[in-house]
Amino acid sequence: MLRTGTSTPQPSLRRNVPAPAETRWREWYEAHAPAVYGYVRFHVASADAAEDLTAETFLKAFRASEQYDPAKGGSGAWILAIARNTVRDHLRRAQRRGAPDAPLRDLQSDSPSPEEGLLWREQVGLMLEAVAELGRRDREIIGLRYGSGFETSAIADVLGLSETAVTTRLWRALKRLRRRLEA
């Protein structure tokens, strides 16, 4: 059964009360950086690129923070929307420059031994390569579910879909990913 919960704290998508600018920005960063970084990381080949895009996302959000309207939705969904656009622009540019290749230095590992840690890295590397071959919609939902750690309801909020549609889309994306990995 597909997991609908996660053991990690959910990023906040609650509606924010206006606060002095930089204080609010730091709160946004603390609350949403893991989700943004995780989402971006499922779309790019290296930690370097993910860090640059995460920085670019938050700087755009801070510069445009006066345009954020809490009445229209949570800050997390708003910042994720900026992240999605930033990733999209990067992937277009990356086709011209060529995506960099780098080891998974940013991958957390609880493996009890270096050998198992290496196997884990290889396994994740293969999964990321397979994710990169999927269509944009599949990559997006996998990035939100496993990169950002969002539950179905949060993904539905970001994508503007029903929860049923999210579940269906995710299931089908995983099937296609499975086929890629077996190929």
Binding site: A47, A50, E56, F62, G98, L107, Q108, W171
Partner: protein, 235 residues
């Protein structure tokens, strides 16, 4: 979530094996966690502060030169290097100085960038980092290459500076035998925003760095070329 049915059609998704495969994939993906480098937050807010602050400190003049490497003989040529007298940097009270012992100061409008870890000295280990102090207008004020001795993933006083502002100057001439040239492009090395900067390194493995130059990849070629601009060079 209904385990045996496709939520879109209500039909069975397939055999038990297919469901197990998807479940296993879901669990494996759910265990993946990525963490960015620790200095990222400070860099972001440093860049933000720079954008918002007024210019009060004097800037050091840019050192602009063109670096050509003759491939066949491996000789490094310095051409039309104009070294202007550098203006003094005025540090605000409370800021320290770059001591080379791990203290990095930032004056108004400056950002410290710490990119770790790759194999920059040709030693075969991805344990080297780049420490950059970037000024306004995409200028690079200081550059150091360090070895991440304590494995922290960023610069600490426990690390070793392999090449920095105090590195001895070398004169033009043939490169030592066994020297390695690397060109790492493209990232944001000058805190300007776009990932359009590279760093060119000439080293003698395992850990001796002869030359390090940060450049802006103006022609988007992905490596240093005559059309690019060198922002900073060591020594």
């Amino acid at each position: 979530m209904i385990e045996n049915e496709d939520p879109g059609t209500g039909q069975h998704r397939g055999g038990e094996g297919a469901r197990d495969d998807i479940r296993e994939l879901d669990e494996t993906l759910g265990a993946v966690r990525f963490t960015p480098r620790r200095s990222l937050e400070a860099e972001i807010f440093g860049r933000l502060q720079r954008e918002r602050s007024s210019t009060a400190a004097a800037r050091s003049s840019r050192i602009r030169s063109h670096l050509l490497i003759a491939g066949r003989h491996g000789t490094v040529l310095w051409s039309s290097a104009t070294i202007a007298a550098a203006a003094l940097l005025i540090w605000w009270a409370g800021a320290g100085l770059w001591t080379g012992e791990g203290t990095l100061a930032t004056g108004i409008g400056e950002v410290t960038l710490d990119h770790c870890c790759s194999d920059l000295d040709g030693g075969g280990e991805a344990d080297d980092g780049v420490l950059i102090q970037a000024g306004e207008d995409e200028s690079v004020l200081r550059l150091a290459i360090y070895e991440d001795r304590d494995g922290s993933g960023g610069y600490t006083p426990a690390d070793i500076i392999r090449a920095g502002p105090d590195s001895p100057r070398s004169t033009a001439g043939p490169l030592p035998r066994g020297s390695v040239t690397q060109d790492h492009c493209c990232r944001d090395f000058d805190a300007g925003g776009p990932a359009d900067d590279g760093i060119l390194l000439v080293s003698v493995p395992p850990d001796r760095i002869l030359v390090a130059a940060v450049y802006e990849d103006r022609d988007a070629s992905g490596n240093l070329s005559a059309a690019d601009v060198v922002r900073y060079m060591l020594p």
